[in-house]
């Protein structure tokens, strides 16, 4: 990039301001305490940053969601507490804290109380590998992507605990639906990531981002034929993984009264809610990392790029919620197994093809392949139509 | 290695023995399957420990462990399918109540 040197220096300083701040604190510490304390301090600083970031993100995501949904439904959304309702999340927090904590009589008490605590742990652990900016990954694991997929797959178990521990038929139904849904959508999600791993030749989230640099730092994977298909599949699976509409069958309010958190109230419910929003954030962040170039982008500091992309994706999720009706159970499973799964397999083949031929012919070939396979899949998946029922009018 | 090899082997031996106890003693078929997973896990720990300490090429142990993982997944899938089929027909999941070859 051709920029005046002063501007570039400023950008560089702003870009690395958090990294430099951490380095400065550690430098200061290293004069007074032994080495191993500094190592721990480094871990503690990153950990505290994540522990603060997670809940704050969750609080303001709820506000953003309510505001946006309000606008979509032609109303204002929360605007009474603070200017533009900015203090609304804090008011919600106080409300949650002061609510009565109800445990059902026949509940499996230990498991019932453990579930909301356990569900937050993977949601926070996932933050470790999200690259928030240049050199801003908390732990640069060389299997970062696999770690992300593995840890986020633990989420099913606390949901089971919550649904089984409450001893409620609606909770149990919600738990069953969750199991089916999360297992099914994990398969196309993992497979849609495979082309990215093939092209960047690494599982580390940092290296995946670095391999998407190029002219103007805009050589993102979404600008390739396999990237755009992979991104759409990954994003749909991400929406399903964090149980958001239109895939919110596990907690469908109007069908099974909020599923696995029917029996939870007060702070325990808030913890479930928190885990859900943090999962939504990390999944959008990872989608941005894998396909939208992560923190790569011209001119602006890296972390602004990352947060911007992530929030655009989150807004798309909220938009989905505002516009789409809920799936039916059989439609949901059929969509994952009969449509997304074959499409991801074809996508892997196309990625291999695109690697070996020139870009232009790659686009043409992959367009042909995708349109044919899309058409075939749609034809094969002809929706099951219920038999027409006639109700003769009584005289 | 940070801790001596023998300690890891003893750990995995104890884990294996616990799993074996579960297999011998449990009446519920799902309980037996769970204990079998425990035993497979103990075997995996051994494979990893050996791959880290003996002179074979270092990835061998890990590859064997991955094979064991795959086999464990198939065991669980087929075993649980059998349990569900059994429960549908006999309404029981206890081993000693299933004593007919055909029904």
């Amino acid at each position: 990039m051709n920029m005046p040197p002063l501007l570039r220096d400023i950008e560089f300083a702003v870009d690395l301001s958090f990294v430099n701040a951490k380095g400065w604190i550690l430098d200061l510490l290293s004069h007074i305490v032994p080495d191993w304390v500094v190592v721990f301090a480094s871990i503690v600083i990153s950990g505290v940053a994540i522990l603060v970031l997670g809940p704050v993100i969750m609080m303001y995501l709820t506000l953003l969601e309510r505001k946006l949904i309000g606008r979509i439904q032609n109303r204002y959304g929360p605007n009474r507490v603070g200017i533009w309702g900015l203090l609304q999340p804090i008011a919600d927090g106080i409300k949650m804290f002061t609510k009565e904590d109800i445990v059902p009589v026949y509940a499996d008490k230990v498991i019932h109380c453990l579930a909301p605590i356990v569900i937050v742990i993977p949601a926070l652990m996932v933050f470790l590998v999200v690259p928030f900016g240049e050199r801003m990954t908390a732990v640069n694991l060389n299997i970062g992507l696999l770690y992300f997929i593995a840890v986020s797959s633990i989420t099913t178990i606390p949901i089971f605990m919550g649904s089984w521990g409450s001893r409620n038929k609606y909770s149990l139904l919600g738990g069953m639906r969750t199991a089916a849904q999360m297992i099914s959508y994990e398969v196309p999600m993992t497979l849609s990531v495979v082309p990215v791993i093939m092209m960047s030749q690494s599982l580390s989230t940092n290296k995946i981002v670095l391999s998407q640099s190029g002219s103007y730092d805009m050589n993102w994977f979404i600008f390739t034929p396999w990237g755009i298909v992979g991104f759409i599949i990954f994003f749909l699976c991400a929406v399903a993984e964090c149980n958001r509409p239109p895939f919110d069958l596990p907690e469908a309010e109007s069908e099974i009264i909020a599923g696995f958190h029917t029996e939870y109230s007060g702070m325990k419910f808030a913890l479930f809610y928190m885990a859900e929003y943090m999962n939504a954030f990390t999944l959008c962040g990872i989608a941005a990392t894998l396909f939208l170039g992560g923190w790569q982008g011209p001119f602006l500091p890296s972390w602004i790029w990352f947060l911007g992309k992530t929030f655009v994706l989150i807004c798309v999720m909220i938009w989905f919620r505002g516009t789409f009706p809920r799936f039916r159970v059989d439609q949901l499973m059929g969509f994952a197994w009969k449509f997304l799964l074959p499409l991801t397999l074809i996508n892997i083949l196309v990625a291999g093809l695109c690697h070996f031929i020139s870009e232009k012919t790659g686009w043409i070939y992959s367009f042909i392949i995708f349109s044919i396979s899309f058409w075939v899949l749609v034809r094969l998946n002809r929706p099951w139509m219920p038999e027409k029922r006639h109700y003769p009018l009584a005289n | 290695m940070i801790i001596p090899l023998a300690h890891i082997l003893i750990f995995s031996l104890l884990l294996f023995a616990t799993g074996l106890y579960g297999v011998l003693v449990r009446r519920n078929i799902i309980g037996i399957l769970i204990s079998i997973e425990l035993m497979l896990n103990a075997a995996n720990i051994n494979l990893i420990a050996f791959s880290k300490s003996t002179s074979l090429s270092p990835e061998t142990g890990q590859i064997f462990a991955i094979f064991v993982l795959a086999i464990a997944a198939t065991t669980a899938a087929v075993g649980l399918a059998i349990v569900l089929a059994l429960y549908r027909v006999r309404k029981t999941v206890y081993t000693d109540e299933v004593h007919l070859l055909k029904w």
Binding site: - | V25, S53, S57, I63
Partner: protein
């Protein structure tokens, strides 16, 4: 840095102790759902031990496959076959004392063998760290035949499971 390795060492021993306690809970708890959750704890602890031995790919695979998939299957089966009266049904058979005695002999003999054997520990293997790329190359190179066989077994088992669990029409 000496302190750091000491802490890691104690961490590994602590994880092992935790895994053993959870494993004993797996086989002794009456409630199957609880013992399945304890199994999840054992599996996660084992994954941590793998990570301590630099087998991080295997640790992630363990969590993904076992905790994410197999545990979900097991809990699903427990939920489907759970009976309300199961609290009063005996969960163990009458062999538990005999089994305990036999296992004690087994553990003592194998333990003696483990402590008496001079395990060949080579420095080269200790220093080695297997990367994911090496693992992949090994899978596609010398181990390609077992790899294919495993994938056939997986497909066969999947189909078999579907056929067995399907309702008869």
């Amino acid at each position: 840095m000496d302190m750091l390795s000491l802490i890691i060492k104690f961490g590994i021993y602590g994880t092992m102790a935790l895994a053993l306690i959870a494993a004993i809970a797996v086989v002794t708890l009456r409630n199957l759902f609880h013992s399945a959750l304890c199994l999840a704890a054992v599996l996660i602890a084992t994954a941590m031990i793998y990570a301590a031995f630099h087998a991080d790919f295997l640790a992630a695979a363990q969590i993904l496959l076992y905790v994410g998939a197999v545990m979900t299957l097991i809990i699903f089966a427990i939920m489907l076959t759970e009976q309300l009266g199961s609290k009063t049904i005996r969960q163990t058979n009458r062999q538990n004392l005999a089994a305990l005695a036999g296992l004690l002999v087994f553990v003592v003999i194998l333990g003696r063998v483990i402590f008496k054997t001079p395990w060949p520990v080579t420095e080269k293997a200790l220093a080695s760290k297997v990367t994911v790329m090496e693992l992949g190359k090994a899978f596609m190179g010398p181990y390609v035949f077992p790899f294919e066989v495993i994938s056939i077994i997986l497909i066969a088992a999947l189909l078999g499971a579907v056929v067995i669990a399907k309702k008869d029409r």
